[in-house]
Symmetry: C2
DNA sequence: TCGGTTCAGTAAACCGGTTTACCGGATCGG
DNA sequence: CCGATCCGGTAAACCGGTTTACTGAACCGA
């Protein structure tokens, strides 16, 4: 009667209901239908003893954890935080627990987590990384990270690709985003552009640039004056903006491959007395920070975080791995206005 | 030799090393020292079979999960995201896995997670909530949330208290923060204040107000013209700022109980043509968003997130529950300047 | 009345570790 | 030369579920 330390076990319920453990287990899992008298005895026993199954025993027996892992570079980063929130919601809806790990982009941590996944019996791993995966000098084929990802089964890559991996992948449609950004700037009247990209070896930035290029190429007279690669952070935005200011001719619009890069660039522009958007238009990518609070409110390409998280979780359950690209959208705020070139400034008022 | 689907078991290692499973287990866990010949056989077997222990079996056997839970209202919120990052780091350093759950501040979800914790054999739960816990009408004593927290053992409350709970608690020193904010504003020359608090029934806001009041009371002539409670969000900041603008006399400085409230207030002030900081000084609490990017960069009281996360994890291991308050700090940026009285305003236009 | 179904339920193996209690042989002290 | 101690292990119970294979009884149709 007295519950043991640690709670009642199935055995206790069975005894209290005067049936066997098998009966209780099968009944509770719905694999056995019983006459109502027995049902009542069992249910009373469960109630009285406040029984709940031991998850570890359950997992051991079932060989399945009903839990998934989420590995990302940094939870404190708003983009990843938003992604984590979306994944958490989707996991919760699917009845899965969520194990969270941050790698700080350090390869040895990533490998350690993958290794853990390999048998640690999470049922799947959503993996976000943020840096390249070069093969060691002299080695051929995929890099160590790609190998580890392939070795661990049930890994879904999100946001950023790792070349040479075979599993499921969920990305934003970066190229479409780049094109969207380019077209918006072109439509607004700009012709001279700069692209402030992410790390040169990452797919996301390359694709955003490709889309941007495609939009620009479609417009005669439009040109991309500069593309500056660097980390997805404010520091790179600052440095790149400083470089742009020294250029001649100077672009009239900047497409930044992340919110942070845009914010860094914006800070330098302001400090240098270049008014945004009057003297320089600016469009960002991601749109997760409270960009509407910035002065000026930043126009940006928005990643569909909620959908990305949902799809990633869904894909963990799927049989055949696939690559999904989710459409991004343009959020127009106040950081893009027509350029004030010397000529057009005169013509504009006709 | 061929590894079974699912990987080698202890039994396989034992067979391969020609010893018993008990020997391997005890050796691997360091509870048995062996002559080097045996050690080598075991280590070779482990290596060859790529053995790693099944964590569920381990947890079942040990009755311990080496995992902790983190429950918070919303991971996408920068404050909680920062807290999560700190907790994750501390957990990782302690060799603990981290289970993440978001409640969206809904009581039934909180209760569900606590219920899960109750036996779900995480070794502990770090619990952050953000709303009151009123007793149901007619009932006495602690509210349902407090009861559930007390029923689940091993819960550490972080950031916000739940009245009537007995376990460990880790909070920022809110009162000190309020006082710090007040003193900074007083030192800068302000005498007429408004406090934009959080929800009236939450400890954090009450304490911040209490400290603020204490600072003000210590200065003759200083007065708190208004305290406006509301949710910790931008909407409340906006509404409260609008109300302040209608006041006569109007305060010259605002202490907002969160970053978001401050940002909401700032937005309305700007829209209304009230220049910050010239016409209205503003100081925030939390200091997690990129407040230096706001225009003007916001002066704020900073919560020691890293330390809070570390202490919370540490307290889970501790025997006796305690309440810890961690000191906050003042980060001076650009949103607090001396007040422009009517006189000085007229003089300005000479 | 008898063979076949269905009903209600059970015994026992199994998941893969950890740990207690113990054991046989070698060594050592007296 | 004998008992004690140490060394190098092992057998088996246990953690708490799930599931397969099976059984005894009742019922049903012919």
């Amino acid at each position: 009667m007295a519950a043991r330390a640690g709670g009642a076990r199935l055995k206790d319920v069975a005894r209290s209901a005067s049936v066997s453990v098998a009966t209780v287990s099968r009944f509770l899992n719905g694999s056995l239908t019983l006459p109502s008298a027995t049902v009542q005895r069992i249910e009373r026993a469960v109630q009285m003893l406040d029984y709940r199954p031991n998850p570890h025993a359950r997992r051991l027996s079932l060989g399945r954890a009903d839990a998934i892992g989420l590995v990302l570079p940094d939870i404190a980063n708003p983009f990843f935080a938003g992604l984590a929130a979306a994944v958490e919601r989707a996991a919760d809806a699917a009845g899965l627990e969520l194990l969270l790990s941050a790698t700080l982009n350090r390869a040895e941590r990533e490998l350690a987590y993958l290794e853990r996944m390999r048998r640690q019996h999470m049922d799947g791993l959503i993996f976000v990384t943020n840096h390249g995966d070069p093969s060691p000098p002299g080695a051929l084929g995929p890099g160590p990270l790609a190998r580890a990802i392939n070795a661990a089964r049930g890994v879904v890559l999100v946001d950023e690709d790792v070349p040479g991996t075979a599993g499921g992948k969920v990305f934003a449609d970066n190229e479409q985003g780049g094109e969207l950004a380019g077209r918006h700037l072109l439509r607004t009247g700009h012709r001279d552009f700069a692209f402030l990209g992410g790390p040169a070896d990452l797919m996301s930035g390359q694709e955003r640039l490709a889309g941007f290029r495609r939009a620009i190429a479609a417009e005669p007279g439009a040109r991309l004056l500069a593309t500056l690669s660097g980390p997805y952070g404010m520091a790179h935005g600052r440095a790149a903006a400083a470089a742009l200011l020294a250029m001649q001719p100077r672009p009239t619009a900047i497409f930044a491959a992340s919110d942070e890069i845009a914010l860094g660039a914006l800070a330098v522009l302001k400090e240098s007395g270049v008014e945004v958007p009057q003297a320089m238009s600016l469009i960002a990518f991601d749109d997760v920070g409270p960009l509407e609070l910035i002065d000026p409110p930043l126009t940006a390409i928005r990643q569909p975080l909620e959908a990305i998280g949902r799809q990633a979780v869904e894909m963990l359950g799927a049989a055949a791995p696939a690559t999904i690209r989710l459409p991004v959208t343009l959020t127009i705020r106040g950081s893009v206005v027509p350029p004030q070139t010397v000529r057009s400034a005169t013509r504009r008022r006709i």
